[in-house]
Amino acid sequence: MPDTISRRAFLKAGLVTLGAVAATGPGLTTITRASNGEPLCTLLDISRCIGCEECVYACRDVNGHKFPEPGHPFPAMHPTKRVKIADWSSPEKRAVTDRLTPYNWLFIQYTAGEYNGKAFELNIPRRCMHCTNAPCSNLCPFGAAYHQSNGIVRIHPDICMGGAKCKMVCPWLIPERQSGVGLHLSLMPQYAGNGVMYKCDRCYDRVAKGEIPACIEVCPENVQQIGPRSQMIEKARKLADETNGFIYGLDENGGTNTLYVSPVPFHVLNQSIATGPGNPHLKPVDDTMAGPNRLIAALAIAPVAGILGATARFKNLAVQADKVESSREDS
């Protein structure tokens, strides 16, 4: 192998590389790797969404191999009244696309109404918000829900017990349970756990290869963009300024790695969308982890308090010993 490279060979190699990058799309493959360690964030301009559901079907196609395949019958759960079986595995239920399910990690919320005397119709792609400090990952007792350094919040299907704690602490109640699968079947299937929780993992496997999530790739209207969070915030603010629009996700739950920009305020949109099971709201959300995290100061102070207390006790014992000594001498 030669130690030096000629100018012609250098240019030739450069052109081949440029050609290869161009052939893979308009720089898309580099976006997910250009974050310099900063979490990746998606920006959705919902004024562009036409509700075609291309993203919904692309998500199902690309992530189909991750969907649960439960065996039947399911174990009888105890206590029966408290532990409900969640089964979305029938062909009819698997086909549901108008809400979040273990087989549908992204859906479109359709909204229509009036704002400032003008009628509006908007379509909002909804999925996990991938919070910057996600309570689902912080509070999962088994570490099944976790936060990747690139901003993706995942639930590992081999560790999840399906207790749905992640759903209960999620301000949008995003994760959905499928019973009859998962680790709990190998432990105490009737008495602990109840399946596995599923939600959008923002195509972590594609992102790891430098590709972009399927929903972004197939969108014919370029509703979504992905990039480092600081850049996406900048773009969201600019877009909101240009369109007199509003941003959702900037501060919700302490900030999320999903930002929506809408020409209609989100409290107005929230009134005109159907909310309920599998249909997340668009209300303002306080930082769920702020309260518990304030108490971490107590944990930091505790060792100091223990040392100070013990030091004071030693001093006290020394004083007592001196008193005993002096009283002995006096007598």
Partner: protein, 149 residues
């Protein structure tokens, strides 16, 4: 043991029970098994309240643990010697408190653990805490003391 230590010992016992109770409550069990239906325990099914109580109880337990550790380290060995079960309890308590602190620290914004570390820490915390609780219970029943007379 002085009067103060006797009072602290009772507080310690109460904190161990409270920390273990809220620790188990971090798993979705209390609503499932009607514990939160008991009078005065409805808060146990609210994970965000449960984790707060766990942190507070854990902080006091840590402070008392450090207090006794310092007393032990700087006391004359002829006055204070731990029994075998005392040493074991101290080891598992220290491990569960240490892993608990790391777990709490992990919940701060922008602190991210790899999946392997996260699962490992979770099971270290749960495992050492459970061993400590059951060991303490066994010692309580068998009237095994922490320190030699």
């Amino acid at each position: 043991m002085g009067r103060l230590e006797k009072i602290l010992w009772r507080i310690y016992a109460g904190l161990v029970i409270l920390t273990a109770f809220t620790g188990f409550g971090n798993m979705p069990l209390y609503k499932r098994y009607y514990v939160s239906n008991l009078p005065g325990l409805s808060w146990t099914s609210d994970f965000l309240i449960n984790v707060r109580v766990h942190y507070i109880a854990g902080s006091f337990l840590l402070a008392i643990g450090i207090y006794f550790l310092v007393l032990y380290l700087f006391s004359s060995r002829s006055h204070l010697q731990l029994t075998v079960t005392g040493r074991l309890r101290a080891l598992f308590l220290a491990l569960s408190l240490f892993s608990g602190m790391i777990m709490a620290f992990k919940n701060l914004p922008s602190v991210t653990f790899s999946f392997g570390w996260l699962v490992g820490m979770n099971f270290l915390h749960m495992g050492t805490a459970m061993v400590f609780v059951f060991l303490s219970l066994g010692c309580f029943i068998a009237r095994a003391r922490w320190a030699k007379d």
